[in-house]
């Protein structure tokens, strides 16, 4: 099963545009990433620029409305993620517990929906999605 590990750094919702992670923290994190990779667990990972450089689109009433970041009402935002392949939620928790995170950071673990979990009629309707995904992965690999 796949889990998404979402890094939620407290205060990042207010971070200024262009802020970069601390070099020491990056080095520690890369060591951790290496251990995930060596265990054959790591599928993907990325860090995200602060929300002050992003945007939100809401669809109230069916009409898209764009709000530029920072988002004053946000109490927490994602700072980055790992996608991991594990045998259980416990294993995912175990990995998250080993992360060299600081005290203002929380890691949220969320299980990824696999196509095989959907009812047959939904699977059929979404069969085209698998084809699309194969195409996008070809693109990513090239």
């Amino acid at each position: 099963m796949r889990f998404m590990m979402l890094m939620i750094p407290k205060g990042y919702e207010k971070a200024a545009p262009g802020v970069m992670p601390d070099a020491k923290a990056v080095a520690a994190m890369m060591k951790y990433n290496e251990s995930l990779q060596k265990a054959g667990v790591l599928l993907a990972l990325d860090g995200l620029h602060p929300p002050s450089m992003g945007a939100r689109v809401s669809f109230a009433g069916g009409k898209p409305r764009v709000t530029d970041g920072p988002f004053i009402e946000a109490k927490e935002v994602v700072g980055g993620y790992w996608m991991i392949q594990v045998k259980s939620k416990e294993e995912a928790v175990e990995w998250a517990s080993r992360c060299p995170a600081s005290e203002n950071e929380v890691i949220e673990l969320r299980q990824v929906q696999e196509m095989s979990e959907f009812p047959p009629e939904v699977q059929q309707a979404a069969a085209q999605l698998l084809e699309l995904r194969a195409q996008s992965e070809k693109r990513m690999g090239s």
């Binding site: 599928l43 990325d46 992003g54 945007a55 669809f59 898209p64 764009v66 600081s102 929380v106 992965e137």
Partner: protein, 147 residues
């Protein structure tokens, strides 16, 4: 540039309600457009937070809290990873996202992904090489997992 497009959770996604066929069809068409335009890199849906957990680390000790996380309005239900030329292009794509009544009352957040080139000299050649190796291995594993 790459952007991560985060679909916010709502009552239905948190209740584990599956999308109906109409919405899936519209979403499939939208995803097809993203693929044809060379924008789509990845995309996944997440199970409700009731099946998840949060881990907080403090003084080398970890505290685990099982979901659901009802106290937060900032939960996500899924994401895409897109390759675009600008934030504006990403916004234009999100505006066109299908939004059938009642299915997606929430918001979509667009965030720019850090690229290695942005890190400057602090990312030494050795660290950069290590990072590239990790990504290549992760990609291999992703492909293997699909088989």
């Amino acid at each position: 540039m790459r952007v991560m497009v985060l679909m916010k959770a709502d009552k239905d996604s948190e209740a584990g309600v599956l999308p109906d066929e109409k919405f899936l069809a519209e979403m499939t068409k939208y995803n097809e457009e993203l693929v044809q335009a060379g924008v789509m890199l990845a995309g996944e849906g997440l199970h409700p937070s009731s099946k998840g957990a949060r881990v907080r680390l403090s003084h080398g000790k970890s505290t685990v809290i099982d979901g659901p996380f009802t106290e937060t309005k900032d939960l996500i239900a899924g994401y895409w990873l897109w390759q675009v030329k600008s934030m504006q292009e990403a916004i234009e794509w999100v505006r066109r996202c299908p939004n059938p009544q009642g299915v997606m009352e929430g918001e979509i957040e667009i965030r720019q992904v850090f690229e290695m080139e942005e890190f400057g000299p602090e990312l030494t050649p050795a660290l950069r090489e290590q990072e590239e190796r990790q990504r290549a291995k992760a990609e291999q594993l992703r492909q293997a997992a699909k088989r």
